[in-house]
Amino acid sequence: MSAVPAPVPEQELVVIDGLSRHFPLDKRGEQVVRAVDDVSFTIRRGETFGLVGESGSGKSTLARLLLRLDKPTAGSVHFDGVDIAALSPRELRKLRWRMQIVFQDPFASLNRRRTVEQTIEMPLRVHQPELKSAERAARVRELLDLVGLRANHASAYPRELSGGQCQRVSIARALSIRPEFVVLDEAVSAVDVSIQAQILNLLRELQGRLGLTYLFVSHDLSVVRYMSNTIGVMYHGKLVELGTREQLFSSPRHPYTHGLLASIPLPDPELERERRRAHGLVRDEVAAGTEVPGCRFHPRCPLGTREVCRTVEPPLELVGADHRAACHFPQSAESLAREAAGESAAAPVG
């Protein structure tokens, strides 16, 4: 890759600063789940920011905060220079015009009593009430074509469509009012491999044609890698590693990222046999909502028995140009494996 010029503010479409969302567990709010905890990053215009994490990592909560579908406990989200928390309902509605979301489950997110046409034109009715019905119909036809559906799908109901086709309808609906920013929340997770490939290709093609900016949220590291320029790895509400695609996949530094990468099964028996040993790296998950002192990954980390890991929360710090990791001992997978082997030989774990 050629040298990337330093980002100038105009290129920043979404700026997230110290964003937190805590859910109280009891009425007095003494116990909280830190679903999102002090997260900061920037999404540049025209890029895809990939947010990867396992269930309970807070990635979907974060996506909702960005669209102001939920209010943060602390921190801010600026969209194109505007603090979205400060907007009046009316201003917010105008802003919603510019941001859309596509959800995971295409059946659940479509109204089964509406035809494809009614679904796609709904945002137009809300945001562009001045359009005549013929103009709306023309726009729907254009959108169906854009997402690879036939014109005669317009009168179909969701139950008559496959999962992949429903997801195309969701995408057409999201694009109907020509947004700049689209959040794709596990948008291909519920569809089969052959359909997933179609949808990923479509999303990339649309991005190129329409100059869209994406937040691509997924648990699937392979898919995030394919789609994203910049990637953030979330673990239990925290961003634990942040970098470009090359950095994250060629020289990851956080033990959790190493664990994720080592856990993905490859469709190749030979490679799988070679990698099998690496699976010992990450221990079993801790039950969600458990408050962990120090680094929240330490109970699962091969180096997690160290004093500093058990007591001090590591900040997200630079480990290279524009590459950050929240770890007291950021390092390569090889050196991590060596250190972990030394550690377990020195002190048998009970």
Binding site: S55, N201, D284
Partner: protein, 332 residues
């Protein structure tokens, strides 16, 4: 493959659903054998019939679904002919099943210990005390920390991975000959999945079980299985040992499926080779080869003639008119 007597021999299995609009047949003649200690993967997309195949082996199809024909020979005994009572002894005994979703297959209002004890005592005449000791041993064996302490816990007190470990403990409690694992890791996170697959591998070796792993994830199949069968539209379209299948697929569907995976090492500057169209619904299986409308190699014959099984020199099988040519090209 070895010359031993198979533990399971499935012959021309059909699954049908009589519906108001006519009977549909989502599994249309599936045949395969399973040797002792073999790890067989059955892969396919949703609607391919892989899970219905698994359920019909256990005779757990929900009505109106039923076995419409064929035989399921477990150790020579045809399970399709057994009475419901006889089948109940086989189920969880010689033949056990691990489902996708451990939360909905465990009883939420009973402790996990009690559920395992019940599973043990269903198949063996042992005292409560002995069953309890066995259950604790089993929980330890599947990697549950402090098993004696967790014995009295309820399913909701466990993470998804731990619940799946409990399900596996229950499934192996009667020492089955054959374990059917239907998408056992699909509901789990990727780091947990890797550990559960490792655990399954260790257990089947230690307990001399044969396994049928049903999965949509070719990566999971590659990491676990000796042999892989690929299903499409209710048929097994390719059978192969694991390595050649992933490196040199013979059936065009297998090839297309492998190419459509968004791999971790895929060139991000290129589009993914998606398969056009979608799998057929069971009431609308195309004439001829069911894959021909989506197949880049399809020719005249494929639209009219249903391809039979081509047995290839290396023991592989494929249902494709071009199988011999394609396999030859692969070998050459």
């Amino acid at each position: 493959m070895s010359e031993q007597t198979p533990i399971l021999d499935v012959r021309d299995l059909h699954v049908e659903f009589p519906l108001p609009g006519g009977t549909i047949t989502p599994v249309r003649g599936v045949s395969f054998t399973l040797d002792p200690r073999q790890r067989l993967g059955i892969v396919g997309e949703s609607g391919s019939g892989k899970s219905l195949t698994a359920l019909s082996l256990m005779r757990l199809l929900s009505p109106p679904g039923r076995i419409g024909g064929g035989e399921v020979l477990l150790d020579g005994q045809d399970l399709t002919k057994l009475s419901e009572r006889e089948m109940a002894r086989v189920r969880g005994g010689k033949l056990a099943l691990v489902y996708q979703d451990p939360m909905s297959s465990l009883n939420p209002v009973q402790t996990i210990g009690r559920q395992i004890v019940e599973a043990i005592r269903t198949h063996e005449d042992v005292s409560r005390r002995a069953a309890r000791d066995r259950a604790i041993d089993l929980l330890g064996e599947v990697g549950l920390p402090q098993p004696a302490k967790r014995f009295d816990s309820y399913p909701h007190q466990f993470s998804g991975g731990m619940r799946q470990r409990v399900m596996i403990a229950m499934a192996i409690s009667a020492g089955p000959d054959v374990l059917i694992a239907d998408e056992p890791t699909t509901a789990l996170d990727v780091t947990t999945q890797a550990r559960i697959i490792d655990l399954l591998g260790r257990l089947v070796d230690e307990h001399d079980m044969a396994v049928i792993l049903i999965t949509h994830d070719l990566g999971v199949a590659a990491s676990f299985c000796d042999d892989v069968h690929v299903m499409y539209a209710g048929r097994i379209v390719e059978k192969s040992s694991s390595e050649p299948l992933f490196h040199q697929p013979v059936h065009p569907y297998t090839e297309a499926l492998l190419n459509a995976i968004c791999r971790l090492d895929f060139d991000v500057t290129k589009p993914i080779a998606a398969i056009p169209g979608q799998p057929p619904a069971p009431q609308a299986i195309p004439e001829g080869c069911p894959f021909h409308p989506r197949c880049p190699y399809a020719f005249q014959k494929c639209t009219g003639d249903v391809p039979g099984v081509t047995v290839l020199p290396n023991g592989r099988e494929a249902e494709c008119h071009l199988a011999a040519d394609r396999a030859g090209a692969v070998v050459a």
